[in-house]
């Protein structure tokens, strides 16, 4: 591994707006009366609910169990009673099944497993089973079950922890690395042990020098390396991060393990640490609540199932009506139309976008300026693909490698004609995948 991180091609430099919340220490959100826990918080097989209405549950008790390998269980955020099994607004603007827990106020632990204090000598398989049992997913946004990534079918020689946090506005990972540096490093060491590796590298964008310093103080003790990264969106995209740190290119349609890498988010590393050393399942996370319209932006440790409205109340409410409410960052986050959506394991940010930022752009014809081509970190031709999509030529879009697109939004960000490039690519990918499924059925 080289000492100097490589420059990946393309990328953009949006105004990071992190100052709103970067200096705000993480606060534990107060216990609520009621939590509405969305059942399927991960990518993979849907869960099987094991509680019924009226059941009394402890904090950390199993609510729903995994139904396959790519699936992780769900645990109760607090002690109390299951009061409803209904549908609630989900993050994709559609209703999703959820479990409502009415808290009894005691917040009493009933964790389904014991701490593994002597993890240095524990079996890697047992540690991996714990990661799976604790319901840990990729907490950077994707929500992919962590234990699946820890079960590579190809030889792996590098473990990377993603602390880039390249999305503007978000500071949750920043605060976490700064305030819980040792826990992050311990989590990294546990992950390395599971993979049979001696070391791990934590990649952090250079705009968080205090976090790098904090990590460096404890990293050497566990032979973990901390690497500063160039500030360039999308530095935290998995493929770009691997390239920056190792110079390896993940093949299109491939996985990090194809180039001998495993990437985990720093927040997931903390969850791993807590699951192994403390015996706690994944029921809380640090989330940035930010945006110019908010009175008091900051970072909070929320239980899963906390409604967005409660999070916004903690941030002091709003001064002016925002134009958009997002889960995640402004480049890849999802717009919401309800304040009743609840915090999930992968909710890295709750962001309000002011009206001034969101003009309702009319899209104009492509003037072929090529800014999107220069900005594309995957080196495809956004302008041409977008025209192919507009003409319904999904076959052509496929030829032009639209499936390589990571949907980072850099092209749309720069486009002077305000073309909905990212939207076109999502459409093209969906159409191509649908056509392939049809083909397979035949």
């Amino acid at each position: 591994m080289s000492d100097k991180p490589r420059k990946f091609k393309g990328g953009v430099h949006p105004n990071d707006s992190k100052a709103l919340s970067a200096s705000k220490a993480v606060v534990n959100a107060p216990l609520l009366d009621k939590y509405t826990v969305i059942i399927n918080q991960h990518i993979g097989a849907p869960l099987e609910v094991v509680v019924k209405k009226g059941d009394v549950v402890k904090k950390g008790q199993l609510l729903a169990k995994a139904t396959g390998f790519v699936s992780v269980p769900l645990h109760s955020p607090t002690s109390g009673t299951v009061t409803a099994l209904e549908k609630c607004p989900g993050p994709a603007c559609v209703s999703v099944p959820s479990i409502e827990i009415t808290a009894d106020g005691n917040d009493e632990w009933g964790s389904p497993f014991e701490p593994i204090a002597d993890w240095q000598n524990a079996e890697p398989a047992a540690l991996k089973q714990r990661v799976s049992d604790a319901g840990i997913v990729g907490m950077g946004g994707a929500g992919f079950p962590s234990h699946v990534k820890l079960s590579p079918t190809k030889p792996v020689d590098t473990l990377i922890l993603n602390g880039a946090e390249c999305e503007p506005y978000l500071t949750a990972d920043h605060r976490l690395m700064l305030e819980q540096a040792e826990d992050v490093v311990l989590g990294a060491a546990i992950l390395a042990r599971i993979l049979g590796l001696k070391t791990a590298v934590i990649g952090v964008e250079n705009n968080k020098p205090d976090a790098i310093e904090a990590l460096n103080k404890v990293a050497a003790k566990y032979s973990v390396k901390v690497q500063g990264l160039r500030v360039n969106y999308p530095q935290g995209a998995e493929k770009q991060l691997i390239y920056a740190l190792t110079g390896r290119e993940v093949p299109i349609g491939g996985l990090p393990m194809d180039v001998g890498c495993v990437v985990q988010n720093v927040a997931s590393a903390i969850a791993v640490y807590e699951a192994v050393v403390k015996g706690h399942p994944s029921i809380e996370r640090i989330t940035t609540v930010t945006g110019e319209p908010l009175v008091n932006p900051g970072n909070w440790r929320f239980r899963i199932g906390t409604p967005i409205s409660k999070a916004l109340e903690l941030a002091g409410g709003i001064n002016v009506q925002p134009a958009k409410l997002l889960l995640g960052g402004p480049m890849m986050g999802m717009a919401q139309n309800s304040l009743d959506v609840t915090v999930m394991k992968n909710t890295s940010g709750i962001l309000l976008i002011p009206v001034e930022t969101v003009s309702q752009y009319t899209s104009e014809p492509c003037i072929r300026c090529g800014k999107c081509v220069t900005a594309c970190p995957m080196d495809i031709l956004p302008a041409t693909i977008s025209q192919a999509v507009e003409n319904g030529r999904f076959d052509w879009a496929e030829q032009l490698n639209v499936l390589a697109c990571i949907e980072c939004g850099s092209c749309s960000y720069l486009c002077p004609s305000r073309r909905p490039l990212n939207q076109h690519f999502k459409r093209a990918k969906a159409e191509i995948m649908a056509a392939r499924r049809k083909q397979q059925k035949k």
Binding site: I252, A335, A404, L414, C415
Partner: protein
């Protein structure tokens, strides 16, 4: 009643939230921004033209610029399309057309040129973004073929004299075959006969650097274009000096500077890829040199750019790079 209990904290009105695809923030660039930048980049050349050709230059530039914008609006009205003069592209086309005309061009040439540029060069193809050829050059070449004597009689520059320069007709630096008729110094500053925008190399260079700094043009185009012309004419001059003037003379004289920095780099009609831009500039350079040295016309910049414009889609198609992570797929497939 719960609403009364917490009146202090105001929450967003969920019914007013906008739902849209990511990204939710946008960079500041717009089409009119880009056009304004190019217009600003042309300012030194405009000033030089006014200095050397006086109010006649102002007349030609005003006629072409305002004419183009008006014609664009008339077209939009007739074609029932939304008004588009505000994006600045019509003004830019008009100004670039003016830079391709002589200070002595009659008013109807200016207007006819604007009509050809806007209607034939741009709108017939579907408007901004869809035109395969540089509209200003389409107009220039059409006028050059239609009115050869009018388009090749130049006004002698008279620096700083506002109203002079009426009937004086001077030689253009590339007109007399083989012989250099102007000093390099004059070419650099612009004290030579020619189109408004063909004269002052230094003013055009300043504008070009401005565009490069703002990343509005690809450096590959002017570098490859000017470099190729310099090399070909340099070699030819070295072996048969009587055939053509030296390389530096070729670089500074005629429309090469404005062609390389402002016409060939037109974003709509030049390739999008970096390698494509190199090929494009290289092709422009070869054709320009061939026309200048062996061709029937003294100047070949416009023809070369228009020819390469036609090849742009092809160049773009064959210079698509391999995406990130592509090589490995191939290697794996081979295994």
């Amino acid at each position: 009643m719960t609403e009364v209990e917490t009146p202090a904290i105001q929450l967003p009105d969920a019914t007013k939230l906008v739902i849209s695809n990511s990204p939710h923030i946008r960079g500041g660039e717009t089409i009119s921004n880009i056009m304004v930048h190019v217009l600003v980049a042309l300012a030194p050349a405009v000033a030089a033209a006014v200095w050397f050709f006086g109010l006649h230059a102002v007349r030609v530039m005003a006629l072409c610029t305002i004419g183009s914008m008006l014609i664009e609006e008339i077209w939009n009205k007739c074609a029932k399309r939304p008004s588009s003069w505000k994006d600045g592209s019509a003004a830019l086309t008009g100004l670039l057309l003016a830079m391709n005309l002589s200070a002595g061009a009659p008013w109807w040439i200016c207007i006819l040129g604007s009509i050809i540029a806007i209607c034939l060069g741009k709108q017939l193809f579907g408007g901004l973004g869809y035109n395969p050829f540089n509209p200003a050059l389409v107009a220039r070449v059409a006028l050059l073929i239609g009115f050869p004597s009018l388009m090749t009689s130049w006004v002698t520059p008279q620096a700083g004299k506002w109203l002079a320069c009426d009937a004086l007709t001077g030689a253009t630096p590339l007109g007399a075959s083989g012989a250099a008729v102007a000093s390099l110094n004059d070419l650099l500053i612009g004290n030579v006969g020619g189109c408004l925008g063909e004269t002052s190399a230094i003013a055009l260079l300043i504008g070009g650097i401005y565009l490069l700094i703002h990343k509005l043009i690809k450096w590959q185009v002017p570098a490859a274009f000017i470099g190729t012309v310099a090399i070909i004419t340099g070699i030819t001059h070295h072996f048969c000096p009587e055939m053509t003037p030296p390389a530096l003379y070729h670089v500074l004289a005629g429309g090469l500077m404005i062609g390389a920095f402002f016409m060939a780099t037109d974003i709509v009609t030049s390739p999008m890829t970096a390698n494509g831009a190199l090929i494009f500039g290289f092709g422009c350079g070869i054709i320009t040199s061939v026309i200048r040295i062996w061709g029937g016309y003294p100047e070949g910049v416009s023809f070369s750019i228009l020819f390469m414009n036609a090849l742009t889609p092809l160049i773009d198609r064959y210079t698509i790079g391999k995406p990130f992570g592509y090589i490995r797929i191939k290697k794996e497939a081979a295994q």
